[in-house]
Every structure is written in structure tokens, then in C-alpha cells.
């Protein structure tokens, strides 16, 4: 399958970026969303997001339910089609750097009764690198054990995944992403439905990734922990409300705009766009 590539609809912009990179005045940002708009079934759910994450850090994407946080992650990973805009990594399209970008989906998106063991799931993190026909070998197996050790699950390595607690399942997903040995990690609600002990453990692993110089982008819903955990955040509510260092962004004014903002307006317009009609 050809990997979906996202050509910029704004050709004038690309050479400009390349020039900057060539001049060496600054490295291209790790992740850059440029004017990203996403629609499901013709209905826009995320409008014109410009978001640049220049350097590795712990980055939180915060917003209410239905704000398009998960959609923003998926748009960067080629999992949802973009109406327009681009998402680039180190100035390059995803197809060129796919192996360096890891993804942890929401835990509820898979069937945990699926007949695989914990180690099987973690090994999946190495499949992208192995290609079509190569099987995981001893290097992959020892890497999987290392990753399980890192998330504190070495004792349940051979267990069927359905016999784990919610927090353990989330850590299995995290271990799978670690096994990919990526430079950028996208995590979709890794703390949802997870006990406090697992949360601490997951956060510890994420902080470790940051200290290794990797970028960790986390979709998160809990404002109390967000302030403590993230270096930088973006507030999203169908559009980018604000982004920057956590303390500067999580202001009462920004939060009010995020959690009681222009949603109704954007939703109404979105429905009209989907129906090819006009708003009242």
C-alpha cells in the first residue's frame, strides 16, 4: 500500500523552509502542523491548526471531549485524511520518517480478548522495521524484554493480554511503542482509566524518554495533572486555542475559551458544510 503522503497545497512555502534549514540558522521543528483541517464524512472537526513543536519535550494536548485532540494526533500519523494542510517531522513528510514516529492508541480501540501474549504485543513494535517477511529474532526478543522491564511488566510477559488490569494493558501498549525505538511518541489518553500507580509509572517512563532527547506528545484530559506533568501544552477545541509553556497557557482566560468557546459556532458551520447547506 502506498503510504499516504501529504503534499503541501502551498508550494511557495516549501523552498522557503528548505532554505532556512540549509542556512543552518535553525534546525527544522520536530513536528509542525501547518494549517491542518480534518473532516469526517465531509464534516470538519478540526479547523486550520498551526502548531509547531520545535524541540523534544513532554508536550500535552488538552481540551474537552470531542475537541479533536485524538484527531490531531491521527492527522499527523496519516490515519485520517486531511482536507488541507500538512504535518511534517523534521521538515520531512511522514512517509520518509515513519519508523522514527511511535504511536500509542487509546486502550479501548482494541479487543483485549484477542489471543496474543504480552510479549507478542510488544514485539509488534518491531514489525514496521522488519518489513514484510522477516520474523522477530533474538535481538527483537531481548529488546521486548527490556521494554517490558522498563514499564514494570516483566513478570507477566507470557500472560494473555485479557488477564491484565487496565493499567497493565496501557503499559503493554507503552512497551510496544518503546520497542519501536522511535524519536517522537504520540500517546492518545494513556492515563484514561488507569490506576494511580500505573499513572506514576507511565509518567516516569515518559519523563525518561524526554531526558533521552525524545519528543513525547500526550493527549490528556486531566487539567490538574497536566500542569504538573507537561513542559508545554496546546489547548484544543476544534481549533488551536493557545500553545506554549504550560504555565503561560493554562490561564483562566485560555481555559474558559477552550472549555466554553466557539464550539457551538464551529459545530453548526461543520454540519452545514457536511450537508452542503447554509447555517441559519
Amino acid at each position: 500500500m502506498p503510504t499516504p503522503t501529504r503534499q503541501s497545497r502551498l508550494p511557495g512555502r516549501l523552498p522557503q523552509e528548505a532554505d532556512v534549514a540549509d542556512a543552518g540558522s535553525s534546525a527544522p521543528p520536530v513536528v509542525e502542523f501547518h494549517d491542518v483541517t480534518v473532516a469526517y464524512g465531509g464534516r470538519p472537526v478540526l479547523w486550520n491548526v498551526d502548531l509547531t513543536i520545535a524541540e523534544p519535550c513532554l508536550f500535552g494536548i488538552i481540551g474537552p471531549n470531542g475537541a479533536g485532540k485524538s484527531t490531531l494526533l491521527k492527522s499527523a500519523l496519516g490515519l485520517v485524511p486531511l482536507v488541507h494542510g500538512t504535518a511534517r517531522f523534521w521538515g520531512r513528510p511522514l512517509a520518509e520518517v515513519r519508523g522514527r514516529v511511535g504511536y500509542v492508541p487509546q486502550r479501548e480501540t482494541v479487543d483485549w480478548d484477542f489471543p496474543v501474549s504480552v510479549t507478542d504485543v510488544v514485539l509488534m513494535g518491531t514489525y514496521g522495521r522488519l518489513g514484510w517477511f522477516r520474523r522477530p529474532g533474538s535481538r527483537e526478543r531481548s529488546l521486548a524484554r527490556e521494554c517490558l522491564d522498563r514499564v514494570g511488566l516483566i513478570d507477566v510477559a507470557d500472560r494473555q493480554i485479557g488477564r491484565l488490569s487496565g493499567g497493565q494493558q496501557q503499559r503493554v501498549f507503552l512497551a510496544r511503542a518503546l520497542a519501536q525505538e522511535a524519536d517522537v511518541y504520540f500517546l492518545d489518553e494513556p492515563m484514561a482509566g488507569v490506576d494511580a500507580r500505573s499513572q506514576e509509572q507511565i509518567f516516569g517512563v515518559l519523563a525518561g524518554l524526554r531526558s533521552e532527547g525524545r519528543l513525547v506528545v500526550v493527549v490528556h484530559h486531566d487539567l490538574r495533572t497536566a500542569a504538573a506533568w507537561f513542559d508545554r501544552v496546546a489547548l484544543i477545541d476544534m481549533r488551536l486555542v493557545a500553545t506554549g509553556p504550560t504555565a503561560e497557557v493554562l490561564t483562566p482566560d485560555n481555559l474558559r475559551r477552550t472549555y466554553a468557546g466557539q464550539v457551538d459556532l464551529l459545530q453548526e458551520i461543520g454540519q452545514a458544510v457536511a450537508a452542503r447547506g447554509r447555517t441559519p
Binding site: Y103, T109, V110, D111, Y127, W132, P136
Partner: protein
């Protein structure tokens, strides 16, 4: 054909049956392999749909001169199978139908189209509509090709080729199939060509279905796709084990089903499907972890443990109070006491039983669990005193040594809320 049958000697007839069994087993194994992936991907219905919808493809291929079982017919069937999937998606998006309804609309329409083509062209095409529904397993051995001087049934040859192709494809791409089946989004994000992997599975389904078509017919091929895999899912916990077990169950079912049909002079295809159903029922009853027998035994074992622990604790409490223990009244309680005596936890003559050192240790741990839980509940849930006993009576059978220590640390050495002493850990 019947005249031919009469000419066969006993040995020849046995050989014919052996070929039929081999063909059925080969087809069943191919279907079970594909079916394993369909079942875990919750796509069993799609297998059913493809099984029916390939009929017009086969009919047209035969109309233009393809022999049943020839590559042309297989290619046409695979193409129609993939067309089914595409049409289902089209109907779903264009007609706004739910997934299952869309599948239902497409496969019945295509199957009906196939029936119309077959019946309208009946004079020109050698397809018997009832064979399409029930298969022609009994006749498979009579249509042979010569391979190295040996007359081999054509149906067996095509089934064997299909099985070999599917097995090779499964071995080569198994890890991608597993990843896609388990978590398609993460697989796509990791660069797995998810659409190609799924397309491959659908093409494999069409291949296995066409091979099964000839042997057991369009309806019962679904049994071969789904039933062995569903049974295997109950028996093992890893996907590749599931595929292997499903294939073994399918082969056993095909052999036993054919032999039973031979013995009772019934439809071989029908009997094979019935045997597969019986295998599934057996798996439901006998599955090692979640089977009815295992669950029943687990419940019995638990009830027995509770009974024994309660007897031990009753005697310990009576000793503590300095009264005589209540005499067991029910038969099961007497049985439990007898068992505890036999296993050396009670000593002494009947009527004046006392705890042995081992029995005393066990009883103390039950009482300790009980009183710790009462203490914990009293402290954390602020329940009135009369609410504490029933939950403790239940939880006392479930606490391990480490949990007791944790609870003791939390309640901080205070006594049981009823004023009794909490026995120390053994």
C-alpha cells in the same frame, strides 16, 4: 456415474472414499486457517458473504469455458469476492446502511444473480444448482487428472494447491496479519500496509471458499470457515496455536464426518458440518479455563475450601470461648469434618475432635483474615458493628499472607472492633 461406481471393486471403492476424505480434510484445513483470522477480526459474516457472492463469478467463468476447479474459475471467484467487499462498502456509504445490513444486501443479490445465471444457462453449462448448495463431495473422486501416471481427483488437486498457497502466505506474512487484526490503527501508523494485508485475507477467503464450494457447497463452507476457529479460540490463547488447533479440528471433523455419513448413508457435507458443530460444543464444555466443566470444578473446589475453612474456624472460636464447638449438622459439613480428620487437621475420636497443630495454624489464619477485615472495614467504611461480620465471613477465604500484612499495617495493631484479639501471622 452410478454405473461407474458399480464397476469399482471393494478396494477401488475404498480408495475412492479415501480420496474424498483427503479432499474434504484439505479443504477443511484451508478454510480453518483463513477462518481463524476472520473470527478474531470479527469478520465471520464477511466470510459467509464471500462464500455466497462468488457464485456469479464461478458461473460466468464456467459459461465462458472454464472447467470447475480450473485457475480461471478460481480467479473469477477471487475477483467476485473482492468485488463483494468493495460493493459492501459502496452500499454502506451510498445507501447509508449499517455494515451487516450492507453485507446482507450485497451477498444475497450476488448469490441470486449467480443462481439466475446458472439456471438460465443450465442447458449450456454443466452446473447443478443443488450441487452449489450442498456440494458434491461423493462425486469428487470420479473427476480425475493424471499426475505422474496416478489418477488424482481434480478437486483434491485444486484443494491441495489452495492449501499450499494459503499456508505459505500465512507463514510468510503471519506477523503482519496478527498486527493488523489486533490493532489496525497502530499497524498503519507503524507502516504496515494494512489495506494490502486485509485485501490478502479477503482474497484468501475467496480462494478457500471456492475450494470448499465444490466439496461442501456454499452454505456449509461457512461452517468450515467459522466453526473450527471458534472452537479453537476457546481452547488456546495464542493466535498461531489457534490456527493450528483449528486446522486439526477441521481435519478430524472432515474425516469423522465423512465416515459417519458413509456409515449412515447420509450427506457427507451435512455430516461434516454436524461433526464440526459437535466439536464446538465439546470445546464449550471441556475448554481448559473457561469450559463448563472447568468452571463447575472450580466452583466445587471453592465451595469445598470454604466449607472446610469454616469448620476449622468454628472449632477454633469455640476453643477461644471455652465452649464446645457446634456439632456439624448437614451431610456436607460432616463430610468436610471427615476429610479434615483424614488429612490430619482434626485429631481425636469422633465426637471429641480437636485441632491438630496444622489445623490450628490454618484456623488461625482464617480467623485472622476475618478480624483484620472487620477492623479495616470498621476504620475505613464507618459501618455499624452489625454490618461487619457478613463481608468478613466472605473475604476471610480470599486473603493471602501479604495482603493480611498490608491490612494489619493500615489498621495499625488495633484489635478487632468486636473486642476480640487478632491472631498473629503464622
Amino acid at each position: 456415474m452410478n454405473m461407474v461406481l458399480a464397476d469399482w471393486s471393494i478396494d477401488g471403492a475404498t480408495a475412492m472414499h479415501a480420496w474424498a476424505i483427503a479432499t474434504a480434510a484439505t479443504v477443511a484445513a484451508a478454510c480453518a486457517l483463513v477462518g481463524t483470522l476472520l473470527v478474531v477480526r470479527r469478520m465471520s459474516l464477511l466470510g459467509d458473504a464471500i462464500g455466497h457472492a462468488v457464485l456469479p463469478g464461478i458461473a460466468v467463468a464456467v459459461l465462458v469455458g472454464g472447467r470447475p476447479g480450473s485457475p480461471l474459475v478460481f480467479a473469477a471467484a477471487v475477483a467476485t469476492g473482492l468485488l463483494t467487499v468493495w460493493l459492501t462498502r459502496l452500499v454502506r456509504s451510498a445507501g447509508g446502511l449499517a455494515d451487516d445490513a450492507g453485507t446482507g444486501v450485497v451477498f444475497t443479490t450476488l448469490f441470486a444473480l449467480g443462481v439466475v445465471i446458472v439456471t438460465a444457462a443450465a442447458s449450456r453449462v454443466d452446473i447443478d444448482p443443488s450441487c452449489l448448495l450442498y456440494g458434491i463431495l461423493e462425486l469428487v473422486p470420479f473427476d480425475t487428472v493424471s499426475i505422474g501416471g496416478v489418477e488424482v481427483p481434480r478437486g483434491f488437486v485444486s484443494a491441495a494447491i489452495v492449501l499450499a498457497v494459503l499456508a505459505a502466505a500465512a507463514i510468510a506474512t503471519w506477523k503482519l496479519q496478527v498486527f493488523t487484526a489486533f490493532d489496525a490503527d497502530a499497524a498503519r501508523a507503524a507502516g504496515v500496509p494494512v489495506a494490502a494485508v486485509t485485501g490478502g485475507l479477503l482474497a484468501a477467503t475467496a480462494l478457500a471458499t471456492v475450494a470448499g464450494f465444490e466439496v461442501v457447497g456454499a452454505v456449509l463452507v461457512v461452517a468450515m470457515l467459522v466453526v473450527p476457529a471458534a472452537a479453537a479460540e476457546l481452547l488456546v490463547r495464542r493466535l498461531h496455536h489457534m490456527a493450528l488447533v483449528a486446522m486439526v479440528l477441521a481435519i478430524v471433523g472432515a474425516c469423522l464426518g465423512y465416515l459417519a455419513a458413509w456409515r449412515w448413508n447420509a450427506s457427507a457435507a451435512g455430516m461434516i458440518a454436524v461433526v464440526l458443530g459437535i466439536e464446538y460444543a465439546a470445546a464449550v464444555v471441556l475448554a481448559p479455563d473457561d469450559g463448563l466443566v472447568a468452571r463447575g470444578l472450580g466452583r466445587l473446589r471453592y465451595a469445598w475450601r470454604v466449607l472446610c475453612e469454616d469448620r476449622l474456624a468454628a472449632v477454633w472460636r469455640a476453643e477461644e470461648k471455652g465452649t464446645a464447638a457446634a456439632v456439624p449438622v448437614s451431610l456436607v459439613q460432616r463430610l468436610a469434618v471427615g476429610w479434615l480428620w483424614l488429612t490430619g487437621r482434626f485429631v481425636g475420636p469422633a465426637g471429641r475432635l480437636a485441632l491438630s497443630p496444622a489445623g490450628r495454624r490454618e484456623a488461625e489464619m482464617v480467623v485472622r483474615s476475618h478480624r483484620l477485615w472487620e477492623a479495616w472495614l470498621g476504620q475505613h467504611a464507618q459501618l455499624p458493628l452489625d454490618h461487619l461480620h457478613p463481608p468478613a465471613e466472605w473475604v476471610e477465604h480470599h486473603l493471602g499472607a501479604a495482603m493480611r500484612q498490608r491490612i494489619e499495617a493500615e489498621v495499625g495493631g488495633i484489635g478487632d472492633p468486636h473486642g476480640s484479639e487478632i491472631p498473629p501471622e503464622a
